[in-house]
Amino acid sequence: MMNRFVLSACLVLLFGVSVSAGAEQAKVVSVNQFVEHPALDSVLRGFQDQLREEGFQVDYRVHNAQANMATANLIAQQIVGERPDLVLAIATPSAQAMAQTVKKNPSMQKTPILFSAVTDPLGAGLVKDLQNPGENITGTSDLTPMDQHLALIREFHPEMTSLGVIYNSGEANSRALVDLLKVETNKAGIKLEEATVARSSDVFQAARSLVGRAQAVYVPTDNTVVSAFEALAKVCQDNKLPLYAADVDSVPRGAVAALGFDYYEHGRQAGAMAARIFRGADPATTPVETQQELELHINLPAAQAMGVTIPQALLDRAGKILE
C-alpha cells in the first residue's frame, strides 16, 4: 500500500512541474470557459484578436470545464495559482466560480475579473450595480435587445399573432431572456408559445410541438438549443415554419434571419475592456457593457424553404445576405 501511495505522489510531482514560463513583459490572462461551443469559442477569439490589435503581448492560460461545474470550480482554484494579470470568465457558471474564488482567496482581490457571455449579471450575483460594479469584477453581458428582435420578426410577419420560442428551462440565461420576450409579446398582443427542452436531443421533438401552435419560431441565445440548431431548422423547413435566431452564427445554419448578436464582436468588446484595464482603468468603476452594434443577417435559401417573402426594406438594411 505504501508503494502505491509513493507512486501516486510521484505522479503528482511529475505532472506538477510543467507550468510553462512566459515572456517577462507579457501579460498573463487566465481563461475559465464553461464549455466548448462555437459561440463561446468566438468570444475567446474576439478577445484575443482585440488585445493583439491593441498591441498587448499576452500569455494565455486557457481552461475549459467541459460543462462540468465541479471542474469550473477546480479551474478557478488553478487560476489563483497562476497569478494572472487578468481573468476572463466565459459563461455564467464559470463567472460565479471565479467570483466565489475571489471571496475565498485574498490574493485575488486585486486581480481584475472580466465576465463575458453572461446574460443577467445582477441575477447571477456577479455585480451589485451594472453602472458601478464596485469590486474587481465587471464585464460584457450578452443580454439581447428583445424589443428590437421582436420588431424585426414583426417586420417579416406583420400579421403574426402567435410566436413560438424554444429554450432550455434549465439555463439561467435563457429563462431571463424568455421572461423579457414575454413582456414584449404581451405589449404587442402576440401569444407566446413556449417549448422547453432539457437536452439537445429533445430539440427535434420540441420543435415539432410548435407546429400548428406558432406562426414563427424564435431561438434565444440558448446553449442547448443552439447546439442542435440543424434539427430545429429541419423541422421548420418541413413545415414551412419561419425560424429566427438571436445570434448571427445561426443564420448559415438555417435561420431566416438574425439581428446580430455576434459573439466574436462580444469577445472583442471584452478585449477592449481588458485593454482599458491594462492601461489603468479600475474595474470597480467600469460599467457592465452590452452589445450596441447589431447587424442584420439574412439567409435567402432558408427564407425560400420556409416560405418567407422578404420585404425589400430589410434586404436593403442587411449587413450580410447568404445566397
Binding site: Q77, Q78, K104, A124, G125
Partner: protein, 294 residues
C-alpha cells in the same frame, strides 16, 4: 500544479467526498447502482440555497437539504422494491423527475449565494483565508461522516444492509424485510449526497440545476480509485478509502488540467479523455502489477 490548485483539488475531493460516501453505501454495501445522485446533489444545493436566501440559518439549511435528499432516495427505493422497477431504471426516473423539481424549488435554474452568509463565514471571520477555512471545515465534516458511517455499518441495521447487498435471498429467508432496508438505505445514501450538494452550493457560491451532471461518474470513479489505491478489506478501511479516493480523483483532474507535455500539448477539450484514462489506469493498476511483479 500550483499550491492553490492542489488545495483546490483537496477541497473539492473532501466536499464531493461526502457524496462519494453516499455512493459507496448504495454501490458497494447495498449493491444498488443508484443514478438518483445526479438529481439529488442539485436538490440538496437547491433546497439549501433557497433556505439561505429566505433567511434560514446556513447550518440549519444543511439539514433541510439532507431531509430532501432522504425523501428523493426513498422514492427510488420505493419504485424499485414496491413497484418492481429495475433499480437502474427506478433511479433514472427519480433523477429526471428531480430536474423539473429542482427548477420548481429554485423557481428558476440558478440561485446565487454570492454575498450571502454561509457556513464558511464564521471560520473566515476568525482570520483564516477562505481557501483554508473550507478545507478545515470539510475535513472536519468528512471525518464526522466517516465515523458515523463506520459506526452505522456495525449496528444491527447496518449489518442487515451489508447482508442485503451480499445475499438478498438468504437474508429474506431469515425473515428480514429487504424492502424497507433498501428504501431506508437508498434514502440515507441520497441524504448524504444532498448534504454534499448543499455544502458545494455554499462553497461555490451558487446552486445550479445542471451541477449534478456527471455526479455518478465522479462518485463511482472515486470509490474505485480509492479501493485500488487503499484496498477494500474491512468496513473501516473501505469507508476511509472512499473518501480518500474522492481526493485522489479530484487531484487527477487537477493534474489533467495543468498538464503540458513537450511539443505535443493537450487542448482543454481533451480533459474528459484524460480523466477517463486516469480512471482506467487506476482500475487496471492492480492487474498490471500482478502480471509484471508477481
Amino acid at each position: 500544479m500550483t499550491w492553490y490548485a492542489l488545495l483546490g483539488a483537496v477541497e473539492q475531493g473532501l466536499v464531493y467526498g461526502i457524496m462519494v460516501l453516499g455512493v459507496y453505501l448504495t454501490f458497494r454495501v447495498l449493491n444498488f447502482p443508484d443514478l438518483t445522485v445526479d438529481g439529488s446533489l442539485p436538490l440538496g444545493a437547491a433546497v439549501c440555497a433557497v433556505a439561505i436566501t429566505s433567511g434560514i440559518d446556513p447550518f440549519l439549511s444543511l439539514f433541510l437539504a439532507m431531509f430532501a435528499g432522504f425523501l428523493a432516495g426513498m422514492v427510488t427505493g420505493f419504485l424499485n422494491t414496491k413497484l418492481g422497477i429495475l433499480h437502474l431504471l427506478a433511479s433514472i426516473l427519480t433523477m429526471i423527475a428531480l430536474y423539473s423539481i429542482n427548477i420548481r424549488v429554485m423557481s428558476g435554474p440558478n440561485v446565487s449565494l454570492l454575498g450571502r452568509d454561509t457556513i464558511l463565514d464564521p471560520l473566515m471571520g476568525l482570520g483564516l483565508p477562505g481557501y483554508l477555512s473550507s478545507i478545515v471545515l470539510f475535513s472536519f465534516i468528512g471525518a464526522a461522516i466517516v465515523i458515523f458511517l463506520i459506526w452505522f455499518l456495525h449496528t444491527e441495521f447496518g449489518q442487515t444492509m451489508l447482508a442485503t447487498g451480499d445475499n438478498p435471498r438468504m437474508i429474506t429467508s431469515q425473515g428480514v424485510n429487504t424492502h424497507s432496508v433498501i428504501i431506508i438505505g437508498v434514502g440515507l445514501s441520497n441524504a448524504m449526497v444532498a448534504f454534499s450538494g448543499a455544502l458545494i452550493a455554499q462553497n461555490q457560491g451558487a446552486a445550479d440545476v445542471n451541477m449534478g451532471v456527471g455526479t455518478i461518474v465522479a462518485g463511482l470513479a472515486s470509490v474505485i480509485v480509492g479501493e485500488t489505491v487503499f484496498g477494500r478489506g474491512g468496513i473501516m478501511r473501505a469507508v476511509i478509502a472512499a473518501l480518500l479516493g474522492s481526493i485522489l480523483y479530484r487531484l487527477a483532474i487537477a493534474m489533467a488540467l495543468s498538464m503540458k507535455l513537450g511539443a505535443f500539448s493537450f487542448t482543454p477539450s481533451d480533459l474528459n479523455l484524460i480523466t477517463a484514462l486516469l480512471v482506467v489506469l487506476a482500475l487496471t493498476a492492480p492487474k498490471i502489477k500482478a502480471r509484471f511483479f508477481s
